[in-house]
Symmetry: none
Subunit: 415 residues, 2 copies
């Protein structure tokens, strides 16, 4: 079944608001083995809506339309739907009763004048109930294409899609395919390297596809197995996931929706180790990411953001002569910071970062993007120099990701 | 001029990733008086891309395409563009030189194997330079429609659109209306309050429109004056901006694209004052935002993230008995933290935050969202209790915004 979505709204086409409905619909359909082929957006403008319905109607078996069913003058979808399909717009008694009932229920701050506008739908259409709002949806069939019209408010749209549209479509799909997906998240390699590592795993003809999505600075690999039944889809997917894991090894920091920060937090909980941070160029970003996770107070003792040399000496015990001889951006200073914060706080691990995030402060020897990361633990202290590129924000982001990944790899090796 | 956008990517059509490029393009074009009419998304699938180019080509004078120019196997845009327009795909020497140059420049952690895929573009196309990445863009003319192909990475796409595509289109627009816009950024009031404060300012018939866009937790008010020439547009806009400023008073923290963080940084530079931070529930987020700004080392001395009571005592000199009697989340503790960090670091201002970000740790007396913010300076120490609502992330975000806004208001009053 060829399915398209159509989002209607001036605020969407002008870029004032980002459309999330199209993605929500695609995800919900995909979970049922249905794929969206095209997604179109047009403004609150009758000729554009009519044109969109006609064009999508030619290449689709079903169109799911969102937006433009509200009570105000710029809501034009019902009228455009009637014109596009050669129908009249008439008052639908059930819709009118619903609008009245919901208007009295939804009395909030915002009181809209009652109008019959939301009760008018094209002839030969069926209502789609909306338990969460005044706007009824409706659906109709035109030149072999099912057209579903839903309000643009996500909370209303989602329920109507789930309870009415998807069951309606599924009943009409002759041989429904089952789709099972799995996602793995990577940090370290570039897209081309991942592509090469995963060569030959996808078998599109057998229903096994693989997608690589770069969400700077990490990468999500999605595997999708499509088959006639659940068992066959799982049988396609499981060995493929295993192979991907084997090839990606330590690059893979989590699966599904688990973030790097959550993966690191989980390891801290499992290993029963504690952490303190000493940050210079990352300026609190690492502490922020560690404490983003609820419950982090159990393993995170403290962080210090030592921008000034005085703070490095006073809070971390970095020797002043070391700062004079090697400088604040040096391997020696990073080690001293990591050991210093570990010692002062009494935590198991001390992680330190010092570098030049730019745009100023670089030199020939230590250009912008030079970053030292140091990890001090009971079994040693390791320090490494990195050379990152990008603007200030990108360098800081890469620094935090690299430091967290380093923590993750260290924790993985510990019992 | 009828303009369409086309976003290409499986992750977009599947709903894994929300497309922001379409909105960015629409906003940037609108600032130049150009409107996007249709926005279409399709997956990484050659027939779908070809179909989309053909369909949009029929109803558009220009199409701006993003995505699918990368080095991997699922990047199909160049080939589909060649097929859709009846051209061959050939190696473009300038593109090849660019790919090689950029690949060597971008050497970071991530080293990608070189491939000629990104050097291949359709015949009779002109290159669009990409100063920020390996993928060159290109544009061509087919059946009366200009087609521009850009990479999907926003930072690359935006520069190419601004520097090449928009100037190219503007040269070909015969009677351009002039649009002048101004934006003011607010923190504090809710949308309905702003709406009421700004009543009667917009005059759509005269070409003066006003938009209120909520970008949690701040609000952007955009004024747009549209006229036949520059002078007339400016004449519409300037008095309206003045009126908006007068009505919004201290709610307005900046204009244009200046963030709260930059507004605060500017005030620190002007006032020649210095700052240190003591954070508990915000966990480094405040320090991160202060140090996001390049040059912050001139006024930012240090930050401490004191999650444990021990750290509050050791690093900030908060009396242990105070922690026992009033607790770590208290007005007394917040003041002691602010004074302590100011004293220890020798900075002019000490700002402290302590509270309960949740989801655990709340009590009847101090529910989740209870936050104390304290500011210590030479002329006094002020502490206030706030009650924020939302999840952990929202409470931390609101805490940081409120603390920064407090700093801003204090600095505004100082000479």
């Amino acid at each position: 079944m060829r399915i398209s979505t159509l989002s209607i709204g001036d605020e969407l086409i002008c870029g004032q608001l980002t459309d999330t409905n199209a993605g929500t619909i695609a995800s919900m359909l995909l979970a049922e083995g249905l794929r969206v082929q095209r997604h179109l957006t047009v403004g609150d403008n009758e000729p554009d809506i009519i044109g969109a319905l006609n064009d999508l109607g030619r290449v689709s078996d079903a169109i799911i339309v969102t937006g433009g069913l509200g009570p105000t003058a710029d809501d034009l979808t019902s009228r455009a739907a009637a014109r596009a399909t050669g129908r009249r717009l008439v008052i639908h008694e059930e819709a009118r009763a619903h609008v009245r009932l919901m208007s009295s229920k939804l009395e909030t701050l915002i009181v809209c004048p009652l109008s019959d506008k939301q009760s008018m739908i094209p002839t030969k259409s069926a209502l789609i109930p909306n338990p969460n709002g005044t706007a009824c949806g409706f659906h109709l069939m035109h030149t072999g294409c099912f057209m579903f019209f839903l309000p643009g408010v996500p909370s209303e749209m989602i329920v109507m899609l789930r309870d009415t549209v998807i069951p309606f479509i599924l009943e009409r799909v002759p041989h429904k395919r089952v789709i099972r997906t799995a996602a793995l998240n990577l940090f370290g390699p570039c897209e081309a390297e991942v592509d090469e590592l995963l060569l030959g795993i996808a078998m599109p003809e057998q229903g096994l596809t693989l997608g690589i999505c770069v969400t700077y600075p990490w990468i999500k690999v999605t595997l999708r197995g499509e088959a006639d039944n659940d068992d066959a889809a799982t049988e396609l997917l499981v060995p493929a996931v295993r192979t991907v894991r084997e090839r990606l090894k330590e690059y893979c920091f989590s699966s599904g929706d688990i973030s790097m920060d959550e993966a690191v937090a989980e390891l801290f909980r499992e290993r029963c180790l504690t952490l303190s941070l000493a940050e210079s160029c990352s300026g609190g970003l690492l502490a922020k990411r560690i404490t983003d996770i609820s419950g982090s107070s159990r393993y995170f003792y403290e962080g210090v953001v030592t921008y000034s040399n005085d703070a490095k000496v006073r809070l971390l015990g970095v020797p002043a002569e070391l700062l004079n001889s090697s400088g604040a951006v040096s391997s020696e200073c990073a080690s001293a910071m990591a050991k210093g914060v570990r010692m002062a706080s009494g935590s198991d691990l001390g992680l330190a970062v010092t570098g030049i995030a730019g745009p100023d402060g670089g030199s020939e020897e230590k250009p912008v993007g030079t970053v030292y990361i140091s990890l001090a633990a009971s079994d040693g202290c390791w320090t490494k120099r990195f050379q990152f590129s990008g603007n200030r924000d990108e360098i800081r982001t890469l620094t935090a990701w690299t430091a967290l990944d380093w923590l993750r790899r260290y924790l993985l090796k510990r019992e």
